[in-house]
């Protein structure tokens, strides 16, 4: 049952082969058995989850169920949940209980899904390895000595270890796709504005986007159907009609034009990753796709531009944590200024402070034009590269990450090396484009490799269709770690 697709689980629930309470129990038991080792969840509340499962069973019995009613889902601990604490993996919010639900949580509640728990992540989603969490590192189920990626590393690890059948994540520079790649699961960051940011604790508002993580593209489509939708409480939420993201799953790939950016296959890409990506491309060709060579010349500037824009926005967003309205307050302080400074120094971890300092610097008097404005101009050039590329191709494929999962501690002391991990993923956030990662084989030490798929704005259904066709022809997405 733990390996079943969402469609299979939905059918089993509808046919009364299993109840939501039984299914939820099954995954709660797996969490109990595995979480001590993997640390994928920060908060689990069995009573809370089982009460929701009972309600879902009532709905199933009454015949008012939606496609995902009764299915347990692990939510990243960045989505605020009423009745279950939301920490954002920070000491700052260690005991925070939100008085409201995030829009994403509301959508899943309306669909009758069960909240299985809150998954671990890098503190305030700042990191690519899950090493910055106040609640401890997450281990990669494929190799306990390796990182799961980040920031949605708990979500990715929970899927790989079959502790959850589906999960939510957020992606500011690759935080859904990179951990999906490193843990051998599938994840999608939709077009900016598709999923409401209401109740999703803000990191860099012009880049943050929630999205689904799961075992397959088909599952991602079903989850995306629930997560998306206009929300007036997010000023960047797009007013678009609801669409069925599974509509292109069976569409053949004959004639699909796949663009290969030459910049993503050059220096810095591991040979083991390159080999797996080449094999995936051969498969796509077999399925009828046509390969087109393209160029994204300004892509190399996405990392520097991102490390100006994201910290700048983060330094503004995180100014709300002042020890007054919520969050950590220092136990001892003098005046008001001292209270702010001590509360923030104690509540934030090292990486979060580093980014606040960068952001404060680039926005400070005299440096705004040289850094922030310059980065925004590069952002336009990066977006224009994609615009030109999509005149030649339908989808852009390449590696999600330059290497397979690296060992815990290997990059923790060198922020720049850590940042360069997101070299292939960041540009999609800057441009606001949808992008996803699916498993496509294994590299060094038998660790998973992720295939990166970037689409034009609002082409999620087409991307999921291409991924699904690939997953029908291959079985990489069904592999699971040993001993799980």
């Amino acid at each position: 049952m733990q390996n079943a697709s969402l469609k299979q689980l939905s059918a089993a629930l509808a046919a009364k082969q299993i109840s939501s309470v039984e299914l939820t129990r099954l995954f709660l038991d797996r969490i109990k058995a595995l979480n001590g080792d993997l640390n994928a969840f920060i908060t689990v509340d069995e009573g809370f989850s089982l009460a929701q499962a009972k309600a879902a069973d009532a709905r199933l019995a009454a015949g008012t169920a939606d496609p995902l009613t009764g299915i347990p889902i692990a939510h990243k601990d960045i989505f605020v949940t009423r009745g279950m604490r939301t920490t954002c993996a920070s000491k700052m919010l260690e005991n925070y209980v939100s008085p409201y639900d995030a829009h994403v949580i509301e959508q899943f509640s309306a669909a009758g899904t069960v909240t299985l728990g809150k998954t671990n992540m890098d503190e305030f989603a700042m990191g690519s390895s899950n090493e910055t969490s106040y609640f401890g590192k997450v281990k990669n189920p494929w190799a306990r000595e390796a990182v799961p990626g980040g920031s949605s590393g708990g979500a990715a690890a929970s899927l790989a270890a079959r502790m959850a059948p589906a999960a939510t994540g957020t992606d500011t520079g690759g935080s859904i796709r990179q951990p999906a790649a490193l843990c051998g699961v599938s994840g999608l960051k939709p077009t900016y504005g598709t999923v409401s940011r209401f109740g999703m604790i803000a990191f860099a508002s012009s880049l943050d986007q929630g999205g689904p993580m799961a075992k397959s593209a088909e599952d991602l489509g079903l989850l995306l159907n629930v997560m998306t939708g206009f929300d007036p409480r997010d000023s960047t939420s797009l007013e678009r009609d609801k669409e069925d993201y599974t509509r292109d799953l069976d569409r053949p790939l004959q004639g699909l034009r796949i663009g290969l950016p030459k910049e993503h296959f050059g220096e810095g890409l591991g040979a083991d990753v390159a080999k797996a990506i080449e094999a995936a491309l051969t498969e796509f060709k077999k399925l009828g796709a046509i390969i087109v060579d393209i160029s994204l010349p300004n892509g190399r500037l996405s990392v520097p531009a991102y490390y100006v824009i994201a910290p700048a926005e983060a330094s503004s967003n995180l100014s709300r944590f002042d020890g007054v309205r919520y969050g950590h307050r220092a136990p001892e302080y003098g005046d008001l200024m001292d209270m702010y400074k001590k509360s923030r120094a104690q509540g934030f971890g090292a990486e979060v402070k580093r980014r606040i300092l960068i952001g404060t610097y680039v926005l400070s008097h005299g440096y705004y034009d040289a850094y922030y404005l310059k980065a925004q101009k590069l952002r336009r050039l990066i977006a224009q590269d994609f615009k030109a590329a999509f005149e030649q191709c339908d989808l852009i494929l390449g590696p999600t990450s330059p290497s397979v999962a690296f060992d815990i501690g290997a990059k923790a002391a060198d922020p720049v090396q850590m940042y360069l991990n997101d070299i292939y993923t960041i540009a999609a956030n800057l441009a606001g484009l949808p992008a996803m990662s699916i498993p496509c084989g294994f590299g060094n030490h038998g660790r998973p490799v992720g295939l990166h798929i970037v689409g034009n704005y609002f082409t999620e259904a087409r991307m999921l269709g291409a991924a699904h066709q690939y997953q029908q022809a291959t079985d990489w997405h069904t592999h699971q770690p040993q001993g799980i």
Binding site: V97, S235, T236, S319, V324, M339, A370, K374, L381, V416
Partner: protein
């Protein structure tokens, strides 16, 4: 463009983060490396390029000016470090 220790202390103050001399020294080394990465931006000529603040160009929506939120004070203050009689308590700021 190089950062000095006094810059680190200055921005930490602006960011309202207490920083010890040892932390400031460590931050200086790391920020220097990060800004070396960021400096790559200056290698591209962006004359005449319009800055882009969002991936998707959206206009701010307007709504009618009417009360849509009900009073949630108790729920909102439940997570506050220190409240009394519905007020947030902070150290005295006016003598």
């Amino acid at each position: 463009m190089s950062i000095e220790l006094k810059d680190v202390n200055h921005i930490a103050n602006l960011a309202r983060i207490d920083i010890s001399p040892a932390e400031a020294q460590a931050a200086l080394a790391q920020l220097t490396n990060i800004f070396a990465l960021i400096e790559e931006m200056q290698t591209v000529d962006t004359t005449g390029v319009e800055p882009m603040s969002h991936g998707i160009e959206v206009n701010q929506r307007l709504r009618e000016d009417r009360v849509t939120e009900t009073d949630q004070r108790e729920a909102n203050q439940a997570s506050a470090p220190q409240v009394e009689a519905g007020l947030y308590l902070v150290p005295k700021v006016i003598e």
